[in-house]
Amino acid sequence: MARIVGGIGTSHIPAIGLAMARNQCAEPYWKPFFDAYAPVRAWLDEVRPTVAVVVYNDHGLNFFLDKMPAFAVGAAPEYRNADEGWGLPTLAPFAGDAELSWHLIESLAAADFDLTTCQEMLVDHGFVVPMQLLWSGKRDCPVRTIPIHVNTVQHPLPSPARCLRFGETLGRAIEAWSRDERIVVLGTGGLSHQLDGRRAGFINRPFDLFCLEKIVDEPEVLARLTIPELVENAGTQGPELIQWLIMRGALGPVVRQIQRNYHVPISNTGSGLLLLEKAA
């Protein structure tokens, strides 16, 4: 049977990908940020997941406003990256696992989550930056991937409460999969940032730290927040926290924190890192 080995919350800021492409990771601005990933990479080397379910939001590579799904699940044999328009190098394709994708789709649909299914899906920085952060340096990415896109572009967005429930259902579906897989769930994006408007540059360290603490043992506290409350406290792009809530939901009620880090600023963002294991 498949087993969830853990969950990782991580930023997916494009500037991280640019810093890696430009070999700037050891520079003073970047070093503390990248150093925090070393224990997480060591954990991955030890646990050796076979599949990563990557919860992210597309920022205008695969989806435009002509069609904007609330939840879209990749169901493809591979996922290609492509030019996003501002200089991030295009990476090699990532392997998928279409059979597992359809199992997850069927399970989520049976629990009344209406999904968009994607047999072709370009993956943008929201997906590829975390993959690079966690597995770069490997010649071939050692995991198959299931991308799950959540709409955080065009309001109304899925509520935090619905996302936590989505994650709980996802977790049960993963563990009902009959194959012997070790599966890690990534919740990407956040934490507080606002790119647009006169309030651009808004970062809320106390709120980010509150979220990093509550998501471990009391995710329902965060699930009670509304999207307007997230915008007010974490900026216009702060609702990306809902992707972390899906990851957290998938792990079940009791978890063990292995690693937590918070670093401000990376680009315009308060960046969080969290590694959780399911409690035995």
């Binding site: 500037a15 920022h59 205008g60 590579l61 435009f64 406003l65 002509d66 492509a82 030019d83 996003e84 328009g85 501002w86 200089g87 572009v153 065009q154 309001h155 109304p156 606002q194 790119l195 647009d196 408007g197 006169r198 309030r199 651009a200 540059g201 970062i203 360290r205 307007p228 915008v231 007010e232 900026g235 216009t236 670093h263 401000v264 600023p265 680009s267 315009n268 308060g270």
Partner: protein
Amino acid sequence: MNQPDAPWGTTIFDGRAARRGYALNKMCYSFNSGANRAEFLRDEDAYCRRYGLDDLQRAAVRNRDVLAMIDAGGNIYYLAKLAGVFGLNVQDVGAQQTGMTVDAFKAKLLAAGG
């Protein structure tokens, strides 16, 4: 755009904004393609007209005025692709929107580290 529930200095990109900004955002979405970026640079206004931008949107693009683009329905994720055409990043865009120099805007971000 009047959004009484939004925090100060903040526009919620909702259905109304998405309708208002559709042409502008669609043009910016086209900048995922390098060929389209080059074509835009050859004749910006012709490219804007082809995508059906209205007068306010064309003026905002001509003036590189990000706040005016947002007022005209622009979404920052798509506008970032327009900024990318000019080699600008989100700190450049943030500085412009807040009326700061880029260095001052970066210092403000660093100060958020507390």
